[in-house]
């Protein structure tokens, strides 16, 4: 039996899943990301450093701030500039609001309709009073989400996120994994390996010598659980979510927790925040810089090389979805194997639900 899902609706960007089942066994499964490439890394060469943030913001319609911030951090690293604590705080507030907006869009518009056996948020509108909760509080959203009926499934993969000792990391920190990686952004090329796949326009990134990884809200919760705001932590703890959580469907719960965390954190940041000039002049120089941050969908890496006039000579961007590519494909294989006796429609829905749980951004992954 062949199952061809030519496109997956309710995800960002274009992808297909092709499944081949023979004699009751999974023979082959491919995640084909057919999103057309726009060649950002190609045409960034020759552009000036101060255009880069505006340009890369257009890689993604859901997480422009993440691309912008990561590019700015990488360029700052290239010229050896350290922003003031005030600037860092402003960026944190922007990043947190970006993560919340992205998570809310993902939850209500993309992921949740499946759990109510509906096709879209429009159908949810008149029928479900649960949606009223979003008006009240993020807290209610999280409580509603944690009660949903999630498929019982475990995925074996390495969880990777940016972490730091002080805070639930977003823009600042080191690359950390559930299997012991602790490294600086500069060491990224030593740990990760990107390769081209014949059936996909998106490249696939793995941990050298080890294999797949998963990044995103569930990875951040797994690796920075203690630093999550206590309000969010207590709600997810009640349902037994504790590191190391291996059910990728729970990424949805992790996103709900991060929305609560984000609101509480922004309020903290804004307390005692005064109006003052934030502009700091910089001096352009030749350099090579990289940065990792946490975008809504996970770890985002930007790397730039520029000449003494500030013109970009080389650009490399690895997105959360490229990091999650193999882990998602492996997860799909395991999910199909575990449900191989189920009717075709059910297998398709389960696959779609897993893809959505990963919250991929295929436009980002190809860029």
């Amino acid at each position: 039996m062949k199952i061809n899902m030519d496109y997956i609706a309710r995800v960002e960007g274009e992808s297909a899943v092709k499944i081949e089942i023979e004699d009751g066994k999974l023979k082959d499964l491919k995640l084909n990301i057919w999103e057309p490439p726009r060649f950002f890394e190609g045409f960034l060469v020759g552009r000036r450093f101060d255009e880069v943030p505006d340009i890369v913001a257009r890689i993604c319609g859901i997480c422009p701030v993440s691309h912008m911030t990561t590019a700015i951090r990488a360029i700052e690293n290239a010229i050896g500039f350290e922003p003031t604590p005030r600037i860092k705080k402003i960026r944190d507030i922007m990043a947190l609001s970006q993560i919340m907006a992205s998570h809310l869009a993902h939850l209500y518009v993309l992921a949740l309709p499946d759990y109510f056996k509906l096709n879209s948020v429009v159908e949810m509108l008149p029928k479900f009073k649960e949606l009223e909760s979003v008006k009240k509080d993020a807290f209610e959203t999280l409580k509603m989400i944690r009660e949903l009926d999630y498929p019982d499934f475990k995925n074996d993969t390495e969880y990777v996120a940016v972490t730091n000792k002080k805070d639930y990391a977003i823009n600042e920190g080191v690359i950390t994994s559930s299997h012991g990686i602790k490294a600086d952004a500069n060491d990224y090329p030593l740990i990760f390996e990107e390769s081209e796949i014949s059936y996909s326009n998106a490249k696939r990134t793995v941990i050298k010598g080890r294999g797949s990884l998963m990044t995103g809200a569930i990875a951040r919760l797994n690796l920075s659980f203690d630093l999550l705001h206590s309000d969010a932590k207590s709600v997810v703890k009640e349902i037994g979510f504790e590191p190391l959580e291996k059910n990728p469907f729970f990424n949805i719960i992790a996103q709900g927790a991060e929305i609560v965390h984000g609101i509480r954190k922004i309020i903290e940041h804004l307390e005692g925040f005064s109006e003052e000039e934030s502009f700091v002049g910089i001096k352009v120089k030749e350099g090579f810089g990289s940065a990792v941050t946490e975008a809504p969908r996970g770890m985002l890496y930007h790397q730039y090389e520029m000449n003494k006039r500030g013109i970009i000579e080389k650009a490399n961007i690895v997105t959360p979805t490229a990091h999650n590519f193999l882990s998602l494909e492996e997860g799909l294989k395991k999910l199909v194997n575990e449900n191989i006796d189920k009717p075709k429609e059910e297998i398709i829905l389960l696959c779609e639900m897993l893809v959505r749980a990963y919250d991929p951004c295929f436009s980002c992954s190809v860029h």
């Binding site: 057309p36 190609g42 257009r58 096709n119």
Partner: protein, 256 residues
């Protein structure tokens, strides 16, 4: 009967489609008067088959299959609107047209055999377009205008003036004249409410060129301000490098 609406994506970030559904402040009631027949991001039960009363197209055309698909949608739609800078003017993806394309492709992929990219163009290079909802992301006013015009069967009245007019309406100090920063406002279509100049930042033309903009005159002004040839060319190639208005300015710089 509700008007049938289809939303189609080509090469872009899906930001327009997201923005479209985000705009609930004004749009939710308007939107509920449409039957959204197809939008991949919104519903898993959609069908791409027409007929459509209105088709919204986001994204630049960069692959051959998109040309065929675009023509199919055109044939099946009463009205077809371009939404967002990519579809309207080529947007950011059109930067690729400024260098030999194979060079740019080789910088990204080692194996080019599975890459089938063509020169990026706005959608009106291939089909007749009934209206342009400009911006990156699209401006609220024109988006609302487009939808209400479909519902009321009238010709949409989009903004056809430059960002300068918006600055004047807001009483902004001109950043180009007063602060000597290279502002693209004079040649850029309005719709953003002069967002950047209101923050004392130069406009970078994310809404693309206003029709019949005199790009060459602004390029000359930038030159007098001391900008290098390359810097001026970059200004006119960030959004909508393939448009006639901006190409004229770039060609003038090369002839200079």
């Amino acid at each position: 009967m509700k008007k049938r609406l289809g939303f189609f994506k080509f090469s872009c970030c899906t930001g327009c489609q997201f923005h479209f559904f985000y705009e609930q402040r004004y749009l939710l009631e308007t939107l509920l008067n449409f039957d959204v027949v197809f939008s991949k991001i919104l519903s898993s039960s959609g069908t791409p088959d027409g007929p459509f009363d209105v088709a919204l197209i986001e994204g630049t055309v960069t692959e051959v299959w998109q040309v065929d698909e675009l023509k199919r949608i055109r044939e099946q739609s009463t009205l077809l609107f371009a939404i967002g800078s990519c579809a309207v003017s080529g947007g950011i993806p059109a930067i690729k047209a400024t260098d030999p394309e194979i060079e740019i492709e080789k910088r990204v992929y080692k194996k080019l055999s599975s890459i089938h990219s063509i020169k990026p163009y706005a959608i009106d290079a291939y089909v007749k377009v009934d209206g342009y909802i400009r911006g990156c992301p699209p401006g609220e006013r024109d988006l609302y205008e487009a939808l209400t015009s479909v519902l009321t069967d009238k010709k949409p009245d989009f903004l056809h003036y430059s960002v300068c007019v918006e600055c004047k309406l807001k009483g902004n100090t001109c950043v180009l004249v007063s602060y000597n920063v290279p502002c693209m406002g004079p040649v850029t279509n309005a719709g953003c409410g002069a967002l950047c100049p209101s923050m004392n930042r130069a406009c970078y033309s994310c809404f693309g060129p206003v029709k019949q903009a005199n790009g060459s005159a602004l390029a000359k002004k930038f030159k007098l301000m001391g900008l290098s040839k390359d810097d001026i060319i970059r200004k006119f190639t960030e959004f909508g490098a393939v448009t006639g208005e901006f190409r004229k300015a770039v060609e003038m710089m090369y002839e200079d």
